[in-house]
Amino acid sequence: MNEIAEKIIEKFLIMIAFSTVAVLFLITFFIFKEGIPFLAEYGLFDFLSGTIWLPGENNYGILPMIAGSICVTIGALVVGVPLGVGTAIFLVEFTNKRVRNIVKPMIELLAGIPSVVYGFIGIMVLAPWVRVHLGGSGLSIFTASIVLGIMILPTVISITMDSLSALSPAYKEGSIALGATNWQTVVMVLLPAAKSGILAGIILGMGRAIGETMAVIMIAGNALRIPSSIFDSVRTMTSNIALEMGYALGTHRAALFANAVILFVFIMVLNSIAIIITKKRHK
């Protein structure tokens, strides 16, 4: 193997390594390219605060969708965070390695189920139950929150488990030595110590919930209005894009891309926050 060949390989690998940078750049460029001109013409403020989305009459207000995304995400967090963090705490602090080795793969399996299947179960099982017992059409923020909450469980659980496991055993030993129970140790020592990691996990779960499309289309109802109760049907930004992109033309299509721009920026901000929190933790 001569030195020239080695140098060529190295240069080649440098190029390959920049593929992620190139991809991110391309995505940002093309999404913005399609969406920004529309925003410039229609007006960012009007776009974000407009409450009427009626492409036929040139009305492109996405406030209902923003509200929809926020409600559904908060709902998902309300369901997913307690379940997820609770499960993680139990698995790390209240059970042994054997149980973990059985449960962890099962949680990974939960992550592998396609989102469309989740949505399907929502339509076939959850929505009818809600309709019968709680009224309404069954396709609402409430239903979506439950399904989305379960969908983000794997993310929240695994990051919380990692954060707890990464803590120095000295924390736990010190607390137990003082006579504290397991639970007291968790609440007073471990959770505060792991809080930035857990927070990062929650933010990532939030990102997943906001970005979810297929399941939400199937169970949130897709109504074009700002919700006033959790049993209202809503449309999220993602559903809006996915539902109308198939037949949108011209300005309509540009508006959907503008919607994507807003979504993209939002998620980038969320992810950056999560990354910063994680980096701080590792320091």
């Binding site: 093309f30 396609p114 399907f120 659980i157 397991n182």
Partner: protein
């Protein structure tokens, strides 16, 4: 309140969180398989789609899904593994690696609908590839990159540095140490990441609708359009075309995902056993 009592209550509450989580999983799997598996037959798997999905089978979707998975891996694996090799072997931590890691993390967080839109504008329209398996595969490949890079890096770092020193001591070059020792020893870990990515490709819907299209026919080349199993399932479920068909398709999807997870689980175990 008595700490011992709080402890008991806490473990009950937390334990029920676990039970709820696992019940959800078990319920989903059993519900789909119970209603769908009986409807899955050899005919179902080998017949073309008829009446928009109301009857017939899902053979075209199986072909599309396989093509999509294989081609996207073909594109993503060299890029991802190459990036991982670069990050571990050719630099130490500096500005360049920080930038690459940041973009990788960002990519991991981008929702599939945005990948779908990007794929539509870039591959389908700008590059003129049209709605095709190729457009779909390229889009999927971009989505898989972060996972493959992450798992490959971990796998490579797990290989002891001393093996490399042995190679250098014998007069071997860096590239030889990578191809003769590091990659072979890291292969199970790398493969796990690839298999997990295949799982993602199989489940993906939003990205594929706008890139690979929804054609009902079996794709004849990578330039043909073709709907994947997940896309087909979504279409017939949402438009209420046929519930039995939907269940059957879902059952096949679930079985596929199950198999993928089982394979990657055993592969990861074999890898860990060697070094843990």
């Amino acid at each position: 309140m008595n700490p011992k009592l709080t402890q008991k209550i806490a473990s009950l509450v937390l334990g029920s969180a676990v039970v709820i989580t696992l019940s959800a999983l078990v319920f989903i799997i059993f519900y789909i398989l119970y209603h769908g598996l009986p409807l899955v037959s050899l005919e179902f798997l080998t017949n073309p789609i008829r009446e928009m999905g109301k009857s017939g089978g899902i053979f075209p979707t199986i072909v599309s899904t396989c093509l999509l998975a294989i081609i996207s891996i073909f594109i993503a694996a060299p890029l991802g593994i190459g990036t991982a090799v670069f990050l571990t072997e050719y630099t130490r931590e500096n500005v360049i690696t920080k930038i690459i890691r940041f973009t990788t993390d960002c990519l991991a967080g981008i929702p599939s609908i945005i990948f779908g839109l990007f794929g539509f504008v870039f591959f389908v329209i700008y590059l003129g590839l049209g709605w095709s398996i190729l457009s779909g595969s390229l889009t999927l490949a971009f989505m898989m990159l972060p996972t493959i890079i992450r798992t490959s890096e971990e796998a490579i770092r797990a290989v002891p540095k001393s093996y490399q020193e042995v190679t250098y001591g014998l007069g071997g070059s860096k590239w030889q140490s990578i191809t003769q020792i590091i990659l072979p020893k890291a292969m199970p870990g790398i493969l796990t990441g690839i298999i997990l990515s295949v799982g993602r490709a199989v489940s993906e819907t939003a990205a594929l609708i706008f890139t690979a299209g929804i054609s009902l026919h079996t794709p004849v080349s990578i330039f043909s359009s073709g709907r994947s199993m997940a896309v087909h399932f979504y279409t017939i479920a949402r438009e209420g075309i046929s519930m039995p068909m939907a269940f059957a398709t879902a059952a096949v999807l679930i079985i596929t995902v199950l198999m993928i997870n089982i394979v990657s689980y055993f592969l990861m175990n074999r890898f860990l056993r060697r070094y843990a």
